[in-house]
Symmetry: D2
Subunit: 244 residues, 4 copies
């Protein structure tokens, strides 16, 4: 690796680390996990929104390759990565379903506006502007398990979930190690100048901040539920968490 790329990666890592710290410090969802006060309701809302944005990841990754076919090495990477990500939202759905009676056909509400904003932004950077921007999203997402796994462990304990109810996070933490290396190698290969790195960093930061806003919106919805006010999650909550 050139010195230059090493410096750029170091700066990118610092940026991402600082945004993560910002999110984890202020996120009420993260706080509730650290204090052990996380509830099934809150986890359910989080997993529903995770299902929604995850169900677009393979698609917007492949769309990147469709738009940038003039660079075959990059396009091939996009298609391969898309193939590997396909259907991962089913794991989120499985984990959700495992909270309730078997075989329930869940009536999920549509994504929250904050989730749709994240989804919309991911398609935008996948198909418009600098071709390497989506790598910025992949870069932090594939390296996110150091931040997320402690929280997953907290959820697991607090809600007494088994590993077979956490397939989404456990599978991803394995898969994503290899992905993370591929993503790094592809960034080295594609980003040639300061503008490429600038555009990639901006996309990384923005997609991570929009994810942070999704977490806050999840908590807002949880508060509505807590206050007994009408909620888009009422129906699915009854399916999954009804007490006899």
């Amino acid at each position: 690796m050139e010195l230059n790329a090493e410096m750029e990666f170091a700066a990118l890592d610092r940026l991402i680390d600082s945004v993560w710290n910002d999110i984890l410090t202020h996120s009420r969802l993260a706080q509730s996990i650290r204090t052990g006060s996380i509830s099934h309701e809150l986890y359910m809302i989080y997993m529903i929104e995770t299902f929604h944005y995850t169900s677009h990841n393979a698609r917007n990754q492949a769309a990147t390759g469709v738009m940038h076919a003039h660079h075959p090495v990059y396009a091939k990477f996009c298609f391969e990565h898309a193939a590997e990500e396909t259907g991962h939202e089913r794991m989120a759905l499985h984990d959700l379903g495992s909270m309730g009676p078997k075989g329930t056909d869940l009536a999920l509400p549509p994504p929250l506006p904050a989730t749709e904003t994240l989804i919309a932004y991911l398609y935008w950077i996948s198909t418009q502007g600098n071709p390497y921007r989506r790598l910025g999203y992949s870069y932090w997402a594939e390296n996110s398990y150091r931040y997320i796994l402690p929280l997953v462990r907290g959820v697991k304990e607090a809600l007494r979930l088994s590993d077979s109810q956490l397939t989404f996070f456990i599978a991803h933490s394995d898969i994503d190690d290899a992905h993370a290396r591929h993503v790094r190698a592809m960034i080295e290969r594609t980003c040639r100048n300061g503008e490429d790195w600038q555009m990639l960093s901006e996309a990384a930061e923005t997609s991570l901040r929009l994810t942070g806003r999704m977490l806050e919106a999840v908590y807002d919805q949880y508060e509505l539920l807590q206050e007994g006010r009408p909620s888009r999650y009422d129906h699915v909550r009854r399916q999954l968490l009804a007490k006899p």
Copy 2:
């Protein structure tokens, strides 16, 4: 395999075989190969148009997956297949370039209208209507080497080309055996009813007939060259085939 699928494949094979026979019987390009009168000019025009439509195949294959992500097994197949097809147009370009002086940066004309019509139709069936239509194109394309390889051998002899100048066809005939099996398996898995098979067969026949029309358009262009009339291929011909 169900009896039903076996019968549908047999009917599809008969349909494709009859369209191929129709094309090969009437194609002036095929006739010129059989009689040994194929020239470098004619082969050059054919390879330029092949380059053009091939450069869209991975893209429209991936676009199929982007549109039909609700069926993860199929979407994954589309992305994997797209990854494998990515960059194959470079082989066509390499083979073209091998006809001329080394390192020439070829000035290719835009695709012929008949080539664009094929490209447009392939994107259309990839993104609109019955989701399995593009499998109809893959099915005949991945099984086309029985029809094409005799012609490739004829071209090789007549133009005294080496294997290293025919990478596009030789590589494809190897790769496509495995692809052909995957495509067949995916058709078995996805096509559930008569309408699926009908839509797939229509797309197979139409894309093959549009390919046949492209071959005729190639020959029309060759005739313009022969008659010494102005042609979109004048410039690239001078690059590749200029006599000292």
Copy 3:
């Protein structure tokens, strides 16, 4: 108008006239009108396919503007023209429906492959390549009434239709005079060089020839009906043309 544009329009007019003559001479549908042997079945099939491609015209016209917003005068023209074309397929549907019992909810078959090929090509030229190519389609389409109205009169007589059953053609022949002038003015304004004119002419010729092929495919379907063989039009024919 510059001399140059006048010469280009004259060449374009000659090209289009010659393609029209080619189509009208060989079209079995046109021959059946000239000889008075046109039947309700044949007209029905033609109007169904006309409905199908017409239902995409406003959409692909607007898509042209979406793609070429960097040229506001052209984009505005595209959006205005799209607004005027919106819903014209309803007139085709009304005229079709007027052949049968009132209030029937017609069960139209999907478009023929030849119709889909035309539709696919029109989206392609609307969104890819030279931005002015779709003007080539508009140019011949908005000037087509000199070729089509004699045929419409023939159909009207042979099938004893009233004007209120021919709204699609009668309305269009009025509307399209103004459109034709706008299209001509926009071509003058946008086409700056030989390549623009070449791309526009190619798109005009190709879209007209694909329309001609649609007419042949309509006749092929009519022959199937005549021979009493199973047809995609069986159901709608029973709805519209059932004898008591």
Copy 4:
């Protein structure tokens, strides 16, 4: 108008009013206008970002019609509205340019991430999900002049701008009265049930909040300039605001 629609409009108006009040109360840009401390730099940054998102409005409005052509009255409205909005970004560019020496070819930086997020969300609601969501954006945007004009007057005074330097806002406040009525009528015509109104309201609120975030991001960039730190606006500032 049905009682129901009247009630829904009243609820929508209250929602939009409350989001506007929230934005105007907290926006540092709005505060700087109210206190008369708005500077040319801050206004310049705001107008550049306004140029960026405005340049997509006609396109995403037309894209709505392209996706929802099955509803011709709505599609026609979308195309007409798009035609009227086409090129309005040129007014923003004109007003920007009027701050500097005549005829300067401005070197605008790319949109801020917050601006791109707004743009991405507007395309998303224009092409995905409930077809009437973009009307929610139009509804508040076409009625925004009661909130914006006092600020425009403040800017005008503080920066001593003439009306001919404020064409973007002045032209829009005229045009948009008629638009606002059309948008209201179209909402009445299209929104049939609670879900339509819910989706439209969510899109209205989300797009207005994303606009508010863009205003904050504009102010963040202004602070960078103030602190003398490197900024994406350095170049254009030298073009427009260089002191001799």
